[in-house]
């Protein structure tokens, strides 16, 4: 995995570097989206609706949460609510990304759209700023495989079989684990990671899905003290 290159002047080079760095995550995401395509068909979405969902929502955990609610007999409102809660972590991630974005409100809103977990983490520099073209490149690679994996899963699900039998649900945590491994270089980062994990686990039985991860971001407030010293 290559680091964001702060010295290279051209957006294109940053974009290409982002595409390259994200390829392993894009491959893993592609396998994951295969299972999304299969599961979405199973709960009653047409192939075209399943593919459209990946193309316009492009947020894996939210998509899985929404179709799980539908599969369990829940309504549209509950499914959209679950997706919103899953996506709530993009609020602090967007706040973090904001200072690295130029332009007016519309341009900024548009630049916030490609933010997904892997791209956000890969493009985050040690000083807390983001390489935005690197992020866009990383998301472009993941978007391509996310949509094509969904197409394959939605159309060819019969050939694939049961995603759970294939162990595809173990891909998500592994994906996040690989990203985490690159982030916990310092002792302080390890402490914050442990605190975030603990907060999330304590909240799982107490709060609706999505909220434990959102609240876990508060562990990063340990960084306030560091700067005040």
């Amino acid at each position: 995995m290559s680091e964001p290159a702060p010295d290279d002047p051209t957006p294109r080079a940053h974009f290409v570097a982002g595409v390259r760095a994200a390829i392993p995550f894009a491959v893993a995401g592609g396998i994951l989206s295969l299972s999304f395509g299969v599961l979405a068909r199973e709960v009653g979405l047409s192939a075209i609706a399943a593919i459209a969902m990946s193309a316009v929502v492009f947020a894996g955990s939210a998509q899985f949460a929404a179709i799980a609610i539908i599969g369990a007999g829940g309504g549209i409102g509950a499914a959209v609510g679950a997706a919103a809660l899953m996506n709530s972590r993009f609020l602090p991630m967007g706040v973090a990304f904001a200072p690295s974005l130029p332009g007016g409100p519309l341009a900024r809103a548009a630049q916030g759209q490609p933010v997904v977990d892997a791209s956000w983490a890969l493009a985050l520099r040690e000083d807390g700023s983001f390489d935005r073209w690197y992020l866009f490149g990383a998301s472009a690679a993941q978007y391509a495989t996310w949509v094509s994996g969904t197409i394959a899963g939605a159309l060819g699900g019969d050939l694939l079989g049961d995603p759970e039998k294939l162990g595809l649900d173990a891909i998500y945590p592994t994906f996040f684990l690989a990203l985490l491994g690159a982030e916990v270089r310092s002792g302080r980062a390890k402490g914050v990671a442990a605190a975030g994990a603990l907060i999330a686990l304590v909240l799982v039985p107490l709060a609706p899905p999505g909220i434990p991860v959102l609240v876990a971001s508060l562990a990063a407030l340990a960084g306030v003290r560091e700067r005040a010293r």
């Binding site: 979405l45 916030g112 945590p173 592994t174 975030g196």
Partner: protein, 103 residues
């Protein structure tokens, strides 16, 4: 589910996701942020990612459950730590999980 309901689901999920992703960048438009903010941001990745690992490996709805997938992720984590690629780790995680479920 009906065709109309499916498309409502897709459309509403898209709108909600776009609004959430736009909120931070729009709300903080062009504002000078205090210096401590960067210290917090740089630690947000470990906090969020560790939480995502634990929740996706251990949470089953509103309770915690250790299953075949937890074992698969643990083996993959060990493999990652030993330096295997992400793609290999993902395949290991799925293979171990599938194997445990098959026996």
């Amino acid at each position: 589910m009906s065709t109309g309901a499916a498309w409502a689901l897709v459309g509403l999920c898209a709108v909600v996701t776009a609004a959430i992703k736009a909120a931070g960048p729009v709300a903080l438009g062009g504002r000078e942020l205090p210096a401590w903010f960067n210290g917090v941001i740089s630690l947000m990745a470990p906090a969020l990612l560790a939480a995502l690992v634990c929740v996706s490996a251990l949470a089953d709805g509103d309770h915690l459950a250790v299953g075949a997938d937890t074992a698969g992720v643990a083996v993959a984590g060990l493999a990652l730590w030993r330096g295997v690629s992400i793609v290999a780790a993902v395949i290991i995680a799925a293979a171990v999980t599938a194997l445990l479920r098959a026996v």
